[in-house]
């Protein structure tokens, strides 16, 4: 469903709470919002299942979602995603199938930017696609640097023994 004009400011505020949209101004955020749609999900409803083809990404506006796994044969929420957080944003960079099932843990609403809409924005050189990618860039670079720091610390510890050094050298270093 389309977002009602009188709710745009409120929804834009939610969107800008997300790191990907943080650097956007209010006008830009509203412009990006208009490229997507909002969806309601009832408690227990599956947003997408592991192995599904990717179709864009979501930002949670209200409610909570669980990234589902299985423990002792029972379905379990391994991670909980709340308002302002993204779901499936890495699908904007590559079209791999969904890596996990995401289910609504309460009655919720999400903003959805469909993959086909994003492709059209990119093909048209629309600045909204660039803004989204630049937001994603900040987030991916931060995650990469953080993980490299962890990797360096673990590699130094493992290299203290010969077997560990062989392992570290076989893994190599990403630059």
């Amino acid at each position: 469903m389309q977002i009602m004009d009188d709710r745009l400011d409120e929804v834009a505020r939610n969107l800008r709470a997300n790191p990907i949209f943080k650097s956007m101004g209010a006008v830009e955020a509203i412009s990006v919002l208009k490229a997507g749609t909002t969806m309601a999900c009832g408690e227990g409803e599956v947003l997408f299942a592991e192995g599904d083809p990717c179709d864009g990404f979501y930002v949670v506006l209200t409610g909570r979602f669980g990234v589902m796994g299985v423990r002792d044969g029972e379905p379990l929420a391994l991670a909980i995603i709340g308002p302002g957080e993204c779901i499936g944003e890495m699908s904007l960079t590559r079209a791999t199938p969904r890596s996990a099932t995401v289910r609504a843990l309460s009655n919720s609403t999400v903003w959805h930017l469909a993959g086909s809409v994003f492709e059209t924005l990119i093909a048209q050189g629309d600045t909204r696609a660039t803004h989204i990618l630049q937001g994603l860039q900040v987030e991916i670079c931060r995650r990469f640097r953080d993980e490299l720091l962890v990797g360096a610390e673990l590699a130094a510890r493992a290299s203290a023994v010969d077997e560990g050094r062989l392992l570290v050298e076989s893994l190599g270093w990403e630059v």
Partner: protein, 158 residues
């Protein structure tokens, strides 16, 4: 000058059409490097993103192991971009990259890339997406390495 066909084997640029790769090749510069020449220095920011077109480069990351300096080798195959994170977020390079043999690089400078993004040419966001895809692949490999290292350290009580 970079021939557009040379970008055909650059993994993440498969997302661009032949025409878009040709347009990108025109915006890139070719950099010949000599054996022993440093392209990235660990701790220094990079003013360009590079792709290895031909030749052999070495990657070295400085670590301190048992209070001794140790250089961890890395991997950089032909057709891979490097220096992406440094050019995108301005942070220092995480390792040194040095030519082992005479090599040829393709490069696009930070300012040229930013101008391309502002130009409204779809090649700009498509290149950014290709780079993010490349970094996402690297991130996945680092995640896997971190998991393996944690397991090793746990098993060996280190």
């Amino acid at each position: 000058m970079i021939h557009p066909r040379e970008l055909d084997n650059v993994s993440c640029l498969a997302m661009l059409s032949v025409e878009e790769r040709a347009a990108l090749a025109l915006r890139m510069i070719e950099i010949p490097v000599l054996p022993g020449q440093d392209i990235l220095r660990e701790g220094s920011p990079s003013s360009a993103a590079f792709v290895l077109l031909d030749g052999q480069l070495s990657v070295r990351k400085r670590l301190v192991v048992n209070e001794q300096p140790y250089e961890l080798p890395g991997i950089l195959p032909v057709g891979e971009w490097f220096g992406l994170v440094s050019v995108l977020d301005g942070a220092p390079a995480s390792a040194r990259v040095r030519a082992v043999t005479a090599a040829r690089l393709g490069a696009i400078g930070k300012e040229d890339f930013e101008a391309l993004l502002r130009s409204g040419d779809p090649v700009g966001p498509k290149l950014l997406r290709a780079w993010l895809s490349s970094i996402a692949d690297q991130l996945q490999r680092v995640n896997e390495s971190v998991l393996m290292l944690r397991l090793f350290l746990e098993q060996n009580k280190l």
